[in-house]
């Protein structure tokens, strides 16, 4: 089988599945289709890995004209659709932006498209393979999980219209678009898929059709469209710079000189910033958390927002060493710090996850913006580790939410007693996010080592050090919440479905396994890619790797000490309550002769780390930075 | 040593609130509320002070008379009124902070309304 066939298969197969899912209304069929397609897509992505990992960059020619026509047609339909919706819900900003974008597109098609033809519309390299694996494995796992989740979701929320066929259809269309996005070499195609993901996200956020959901979906749409406009401007700029259209070839654009690529790079990075929800556009991602949890897991943490950073990482070599790149990196770093701080003040589990996602995307952008070879390596590592751990956490939170009816962290106290398996999975997921020797810490460590030699690296190290410590705070307190042992609880996780368990187990396994085999991943996929671009590459020292793996093993052995303590131990005693007796229902003797319930909640430090204040500061900083970049860009253009 | 000039005015329960209000308006502070069992009756002393000028008003009531709380005028009176309730069993109406008998928990209910306790506790060794 040719690699090209695999690529086409990955793009088209989900599309076909989506068509089926749109029509099928029976639960069992839907479940079957989702599971079969998931397996199929997963296998094909793995095949792509096996066949393609050592091939370097491969370019493929696909009949460009007809496909482009179809794409243009679809985009016009979508534009009309959005305009209609926008008018219906009175969202003038979205309407204006979509009209602007469509106008630009039409103008481009009529005035320039004629003499532009890109030969190699598809390409694949190691980075694409990594992205494909994330989409093909994690993405489909989330889809499988969604089947069970949505069933419970609709049982719990009777007031929400059951449009599961559309829901799953959109999920699979989205997968197809993601594959398309990472395999496209034609910038116009990239833009097309980019828009599809935006619209999928828009529709899925608004799934519950509540007022909040609708507002938030339009917020997300507007911000993403703003990015889309910038993208379109970049395309037009390229078309004007080189009417032959060679520059539309992404691979060509990246490998030719920086001079011409810089302007579109910055514009596209701006689009990436909106898509990756960096400050000042972070609010849409936080708002997107109203969507059903699998949507958050799939679109808003592991894949779609990664499209934003994917494109920025692609342009990293162009940005490296430029002031514009530095500014984009600063936007990322600022976002990292502020989003981490803001996460401290959140008690809504999904919002914490959202802020953590924003923070990590910021960090990736910071790496990509500075763009040295070792930072590129770090950025890709971050993408991998984040996708796995974060999707696991989202799915765990979703499961918990469906059981306890709340996504508030404060309601997750004693989860270790109530839902021990989920709690342990969450524990591992969180450990994956901030504890050594798991993935995210490896990446952060590598980032520090990489920044230290980069220009102006000190600023980034400082931000990383302070923001990173905030990360420790909000994760640990959440972790502490779920592992606190409350006595009066019963186990409530028996009702979780088998396929959900399977997905959760696989993802938990991935968090650990990927951490164990990351040297392999690095040497097979990331290092060749980086080497190919920069001519040199980074890796962690062998001694450190050994130690980290030893630490990981130690960490896995430690729980067995529980067995040793289990037997012959005295029964537990009540906690210290200042001399007051406490009964098993967690009540103690309070003042005025009443029996008070023991309530413990975490610190949120609203005054110091309050969302509104920090957002104001962070957003203004980032706006400022973007403004400077814009002015510089104008300078270049003029 | 010069003895302090102390005046005690006996008033009716009904006039209590009015009298206390006058003290409050004149800027007196509440020094204490104390209760004494005299025979079958209870004397309740409300003591006020302003610039070392000491004034007392006294109501004399039976054990089951409900006494109005003066916490409207003196926020801190709850501490004495709760005590009065717990030790003497005098019902107080409208306390701002009502401990409902848990202010001072005693082994003997309303101990000060009891005749002298004669049992000698402690070890007999």
């Amino acid at each position: 089988m040719q690699i090209l066939d695999l690529l086409l298969c990955l793009i088209l197969f989900p599309l076909i599945a989506a068509l089926f899912l749109l029509v099928v209304r029976r639960d069992s069929w839907r479940s079957l289709i989702v599971q079969l397609s998931a397996v199929a897509i997963g296998i094909v992505s793995l095949m792509l890995l096996v066949l393609g990992f050592d091939k370097g960059t491969l370019l493929y020619t696909v009949g460009s004209e007809p496909v482009s026509q179809v794409m243009f047609f679809i985009e016009m339909i979508l534009a009309v659709f959005i305009v209609c919706l926008g008018i219906k819900y009175r969202k003038s900003l979205s309407v204006v932006l979509i009209l602007l974008q469509a106008g630009l597109l039409v103008w481009y098609e009529t005035n320039m498209a004629g003499h532009i033809s890109v030969g190699n519309n598809l390409f694949v390299d190691q980075f694409s393979i990594i992205m494909a694996l994330i989409i093909g494995i994690i993405g489909t796992l989330i889809c499988v999980y969604s089947v069970g989740y949505m069933e419970t979701y609709h049982n719990r929320h009777k007031e929400i219209r059951d449009r599961r066929n559309i829901f799953f259809g959109l999920l699979f269309i989205f997968l197809a678009a993601m594959f398309g996005l990472v395999f496209s070499n034609n910038l116009l195609w990239v833009f097309f898929f980019w828009e599809i993901t935006t619209i999928c996200s828009f529709l899925l956020i608004g799934y519950s059709e509540t007022e909040e959901a609708t507002n938030n979906s339009f917020l997300a749409l507007s911000m993403n469209l703003l990015g889309g406009v910038a993208f379109m401007v970049a395309i037009i700029y390229l078309a004007i710079s080189d009417p032959s259209g060679n520059l539309m070839d992404l691979n060509y654009l990246l490998t030719t000189g920086k001079a011409v690529a810089l302007v579109p790079a910055v514009l596209i990075c701006f689009a990436g910033i909106t898509k990756a929800a960096l400050m000042p556009f972070s609010s849409w991602l936080v708002g997107a958390m109203v969507a059903p949890t699998p949507v958050s897991a799939l679109l808003h943490s592991s894949t779609m927002v990664k499209a934003g950073v994917y494109i920025i990482v692609r342009f990293a070599p162009v940005l490296a060493g430029t002031t514009e790149g530095l500014i984009i990196a600063l936007v990322g770093a600022t976002t990292f710090a502020f989003a981490s701080f803001m996460a401290i003040s959140q008690s809504n589990a999904k919002k914490v996850l959202a802020y953590s996602t924003i923070a990590n995307l910021g960090l990736i952008v910071a790496c990509a913006g500075v763009g040295t070879y070792n930072l590129m390596w770090v950025a890709i590592l971050l993408i991998i580790f984040h996708a796995i751990a974060k999707s696991l956490l989202f799915l765990c939170v979703g499961t918990v939410e469906n059981r306890i009816g709340s996504r508030n962290i404060e309601d997750m106290g004693g989860l270790i007693v109530r839902m021990p398996k989920i709690a342990i999975m969450m524990f591992i997921g969180m450990a994956g996010m901030f504890l050594a020797p798991f993935g995210m810490v490896i990446s952060k460590w590598a980032a520090i080592e990489a920044f230290i030699t980069a220009p102006f690296g000190l600023i980034f190290i400082a931000i990383l050090a302070f923001g990173g410590s905030a990360t420790v705070f909000f994760w640990s307190k959440w972790m502490g919440k779920i592992i606190s042992v409350m006595r009066d609880q019963t186990v409530i996780e028996d009702t979780v479905k088998k396929e959900k368990w399977a997905v959760l187990y696989i993802l938990t396994g991935l968090v650990v396994v990927v951490c164990l085999i990351f040297p392999l991943i690095s040497s097979v996929l990331i290092e060749p890619f980086v080497l190919n671009i920069y001519g040199q590459t980074a890796r962690l020292a062998q001694a450190n790797l050994t130690i980290m793996i030893m630490m990981l093993c130690l960490l896995m052995i430690m729980p067995f000490s529980m067995l040793f303590y289990g037997k012959g131990a005295q029964p537990p005693v009540p906690p210290y309550m200042g001399g007051r007796p406490m009964d098993d229902s967690m009540h103690f003797a309070g003042s005025m002769g009443v029996s008070r319930e023991l309530v413990l909640s975490n610190y949120y430090l609203e005054k110091t780390f309050g969302e509104e204040r920090l957002f104001m500061i962070g957003a203004s900083l980032c706006w400022g930075l973007l403004l400077i970049a814009g002015i510089m860009l104008l300078g270049v253009i003029l | 040593m010069t003895p302090e000039n102390q005046t005690t005015t006996s008033i009716d329960v009904g006039k209590l609130i009015g009298s206390v209000e006058r003290f409050r308006n004149e800027g007196y502070r509440l020094v204490q509320i104390g209760c004494t069992k005299v025979g079958d009756l209870y004397e309740i002393n409300y003591s006020f002070d302003k610039d070392y000028h000491f004034e007392n008003i006294r109501i004399t009531i039976t054990g089951d008379t409900e006494v109005p709380s003066i916490s409207g005028m003196y926020w801190n009176s709850f501490i004495y009124e709760n005590e009065m309730h717990d030790l003497f069993g005098i019902p107080v109406r409208g306390m701002n902070i009502d401990f409902k008998g848990t202010f001072i928990r005693t082994a003997v209910k309303y101990p000060f309304s009891q005749p002298p306790v004669t049992v000698t506790k402690g070890d007999k060794s």
Partner: protein, 359 residues
């Protein structure tokens, strides 16, 4: 679910040697609600007047509290003396003042130490208590007891202090003054202490007055109430300086007590200078018939002993209204909206003596 934490503060808590009981409700570290409860030391000994002769009850009155034991004894005796119209010999009155002021020194030093400990300044705690031992030595040398002095009786005092000893005491005060100066400078000047005390537990002058604050708690808010100004005992012949501070925060209350140390030593010196020769007690005959509200200044503020006799050897009622009891309502106000770290500091800033309070 609200983001609250319930903290059962006491009855067993290392901050105070006594059982206090607060239910704290926190949001982060901020106290949003505080519900106190007392009664852990209520023994009910006021009822013992029905079984002890009024002359013997002084032993019980003294044991109201182990810190201001002498003042309780003296106030009780003075109350009885007022009812019975007994003229106590001058020397006894001066001796009572001297011991009362030593009690105040001992109490304030003890408090300063505990207070320092409440904000984690262990060394200062040790230093304050080191100086306090000097005061206790004097107490023991003159009364035979370290904390329960037992040197007061109805009609006078039980022990005399020789003139040589009085002079030696006055001389020794100079050294103690020096040590205390060094100690209080730290309390009043050190910026880390100011950080913990300034603007913590603020109570305005009006609130302090109307909520019934007395003693240093009131004086820290600028309310110049000092019952010694009533001139009981020998105080009418001595120059009593009332120390006030205006801020009403923990620092002010601390400053009042720190400065009162020196007014106390001053009063002792005055008393030693003025003390006349003569008998120290007078024989008491008969029994009290009548009532009296005896007010005196305890280290913590105005103390009221209400005594009522009916002509027998047994009193009808003794009611002790201690300064801490009346300082509790202001305390509740102070605690609203403070931080968890401030709770011990604020609670201690009124110098609570629970055993007095609950009797």
């Amino acid at each position: 679910m609200s983001k609250q934490i319930t903290v059962p503060f006491g009855p067993q808590h290392p901050v105070l040697p006594e059982p206090i009981h607060l239910d704290l409700v926190l949001e982060d570290e901020t106290v949003v609600d505080v519900i106190p409860s007392i009664g852990y030391i209520h023994r009910g000994f006021e009822k013992l007047v029905e079984k002890r002769e009024f002359t013997d009850y002084v032993y019980i009155a003294e044991r109201t509290c182990g810190i201001c034991s002498f003042v309780h004894g003296a106030t009780y005796c003075q109350g009885i003396e007022q009812i019975m119209k007994i003229d106590v010999p001058e020397r006894a009155q001066y001796l009572r003042v001297i011991w009362s002021e030593y009690s105040r020194l001992h109490s304030h030093l003890l408090w300063l130490g505990l207070f320092a400990d409440s904000f984690g300044f262990e060394n200062l705690f040790m230093n304050a208590w080191k100086i306090r031992e000097d005061i206790l030595d004097v107490m023991e040398q003159t009364t035979g007891g370290r904390v329960i002095q037992g040197s007061c009786k109805v009609g006078g005092v039980r022990r005399d202090i020789s003139d040589e000893k009085l002079d030696a005491m006055a001389k020794d005060l100079d050294r103690i003054d020096r040590d205390m100066k060094e100690l209080t400078t730290v309390f009043l000047q050190d910026s880390s202490i100011q950080h913990r005390l300034r603007n913590v537990g603020v109570i305005s002058r009006g609130d302090a007055y109307h909520l019934g604050a007395v003693g240093p708690t009131a004086r820290g808010s600028g309310v110049a109430i000092d019952t010694r100004k009533l001139g009981y005992g020998a105080y009418d012949r001595l120059n009593v300086q009332v120390v006030t501070e205006s801020c009403g925060d923990c620092y002010s209350r601390c400053a009042v007590r720190a400065k009162e140390l020196f007014t106390s030593t001053d009063l002792i010196r005055q008393a030693v200078k003025k003390i006349p020769d003569g008998p120290i007690d007078i024989k008491v005959t008969g029994a009290p018939d009548g009532e009296y509200f005896m007010r005196a200044e305890q280290p913590r503020g105005e103390l009221v002993h209400y005594l009522k006799g009916n002509g027998t050897k047994f009193l009808v009622r003794s009611r002790i209204r201690t300064p801490t009891l009346t300082n509790i309502p202001p305390l509740i106000k102070m605690l609203q909206g403070c931080e968890l770290a401030d709770v011990p500091v604020i609670v201690l800033s009124i110098d609570p003596c629970i055993s007095c309070t609950e009797r």
